[in-house]
Symmetry: C2
Subunit: 391 residues, 2 copies
């Protein structure tokens, strides 16, 4: 696997999406009895647990809606999307309209709405599904959920927030990062002032407030004054998160025709990758402490599927938007690592969790956090970004 041309990568990613990954989820995940999807799938695709996690229900419904919209209007893909949309719609929300974190297979609530990203991925799903199906009830719901997310932004965990108020207020990178993607996803449904204001806010948060201008490292948590906090939370780096955010920024740059923003996103993305890359064993670390202290996360040195897939997307888009040859060189390196370690040639789809040395730690294809999302979305994005070939 080397010295391929961009369009050869593009073809591999397209073929793998349509012939390997999507068929895996079509075959193993739908729950035609209760609605929704099973995501706890073992190496072969067998269901080993039936709980339904709302992040993954929303993400899979979005994914099949995207395929219908962007690849081919196949009725079975629309039906697959609808399966998750109906389940979310029937069982997903509490009396406030907030989304639970998980449900039983039949849809009874298991874990309370403590996690606003359930709502983010539900909005993403309803928006895309509503657009492709033409069912206005779902686009309306998407807008309503989006507005409620903006309202909850200051305290997204609500009463489940365990931080004592006032002692050490910190803000977290994840929500502005996800909003920068969600806002573009829902763009056609939202008032344009709301879109522009949200994008402006996201760009400022992501590209300025969470960034250390000296090192160009992106931090997971900052003080309310956008300063470094010398605490476990404040020192935390999550290179995969930061790299994923950079391709969201490239998408905004493209939408706005802002080449400066694209160039800056590529520069920052490459910095996270240099810092996050494990020079001894290859792969990108999950968590690091910016001062080199021991992080609290025991899984800090593990290699996770989504980190590597989002890195491939960011590199492909970086190449597409800037032609920077470093992007293509890094793409080749990360591609070889990821396809050599995560991809399962025997049973299809990708492993999710490797140890530091790149050995499989858990051989599941799906679980509480891994579903039909990062693998197919990244395959789709790389396919499209590299389709046009050499720049």
């Amino acid at each position: 696997m080397k010295q391929w041309r961009p369009e050869e990568y593009s073809k591999l990613y397209r073929d793998s999406l349509l012939e390997n990954v999507i068929p895996f989820w079509e075959k193993h995940s739908p729950d035609w009895t209760n609605g929704g999807y099973y995501t706890c799938l073992d190496r072969q695709g067998n269901v080993y647990d039936t709980d339904k996690f709302l992040w993954l229900q929303g993400r899979q419904a979005w994914m099949f809606s995207l395929l219908y919209q962007q690849v081919e209007p196949r009725e079975d893909w629309l039906a697959m999307a609808k399966l998750g949309i109906s389940f979310l719609s029937n069982y997903g929300r509490d009396h406030n309209g907030d989304f639970y974190f998980s449900l039983t297979k039949e849809g009874a609530p298991l874990v309370q709405p403590y996690n606003i990203f359930s709502d983010c991925f539900a909005a993403m799903a309803f928006g895309k599904y509503g657009l492709v199906s033409g069912e206005k009830v779902y686009t309306d719901q998407a807008v309503g959920i989006f507005q409620r997310i903006l309202e909850r932004q200051a305290n997204p965990k609500g009463k489940y927030n365990k931080a004592f108020p006032g002692t050490r207020p910190l803000k977290n990178f994840a929500l502005p990062m996800i909003l920068s993607n969600l806002c573009l996803e829902l763009e056609s449904l939202l008032p344009s002032e709301m879109v522009e204001k949200t994008l402006d806010d996201c760009i400022r948060e992501v590209m300025v407030n969470f960034l250390d201008p000296e090192t160009l490292l992106m931090f997971e948590n900052r003080t309310l004054e956008n300063e470094f906090s010398d605490t476990f939370e404040g020192r935390l780096l999550n290179p995969g998160h930061a790299i994923e955010a950079m391709w969201f920024m490239m998408d905004i740059a493209k939408r706005r025709g802002d080449q400066q923003l694209a160039d800056r996103a590529v520069e920052i993305m490459l910095k996270q990758l240099e810092r996050g890359w494990d020079k001894e064993y290859g792969g990108v670390f999950y968590f690091l402490d910016s001062k080199g202290h021991p992080p609290q996360q025991l899984e800090w040195d593990q290699k996770l599927w989504w980190v590597h897939l989002e890195t491939l997307v960011a590199l492909a888009k970086g190449y597409e938007h800037t032609g920077n040859p470093e992007c293509m060189a890094w793409f080749e390196k990360v591609h070889n690592y990821a396809w050599g370690k995560f991809y399962d040639p025997k049973n299809g789809e990708w492993f999710g969790y490797l140890n530091r040395k790149g050995e499989v730690l858990l051989d599941l294809k799906g679980g509480k956090w891994k579903g039909c999302f990062h693998v197919p979305r990244a395959l789709f994005q790389v396919w499209k970004s590299l389709e046009k070939g050499l720049r």
Copy 2:
């Protein structure tokens, strides 16, 4: 390291406690300025973070009170205990009297009282310190905290509980397990009916309700009817937890003169050890799924200091109480693993976190969860259990 006599082990554990481990914490942890202890200590003992976690404040104050009571009434040990007691007493509790999870170094609350084990270890500390110092205010507080723990038992997380009520009510092993130790700790301070009732309840929970009678495996979570739940939580095994609970049971058996209980605890302990032992790389796994499915815990295959130290205590006590030669054979095996991998001959004390292969994953000596507790308590317990030599 092999074919030692029990009293030789005993001497090693005693010497290591008094000449290596306790001096490490005496030198590096006290915060004489603000009170309390620093526990985030790097390999050399340098403070790398100043937050104070209440589990560890209570546990260290208890540890030094125990040394004063059981080893030697040294004034500096009492002062060290008092340092944590005053800090807990001044800053530890919210307006309900519940203990925060963490504080800044100055004592400002950081994380709310969502975790009842902060209260358990505070009660343990106040009780022991009150007894050895003769300051009745602390023994009174210990009794009050203990009563409040019993009141909160049905919903220990209070409003921070994220489980939706009623869908899948499960009970967790940790609280009855910890109560079985705490109740003996506070025995002399509590009404005897309360002690006997609490011990009876704990024995029933631990030895019957959380145990699968076929396999003798101890489960972390059971239904309210004491049944297996075929869910992530219900399938979860934590061999270190179960093994530690078995030495708590042996202590109760000794206190009650109940040889049958001691024998049963040894039998169950050995089963967890056989199941939990990593036959490929040695050491005891952190988490397992009882059906062999992928656990949710990414750290499942790591080797943790406390698991191995509590196993050594359980084996030493098992040998002391039953003379079972399997206990001594296992002791030797676990001893060789633990002293070869966790003990740090260069800088003293023990590493906390190894990867599956036994390589150091984080070289800290203390952090959010590791303080002055499992290492010194286990060294003390093994010293005392094996002191009398061969049975």
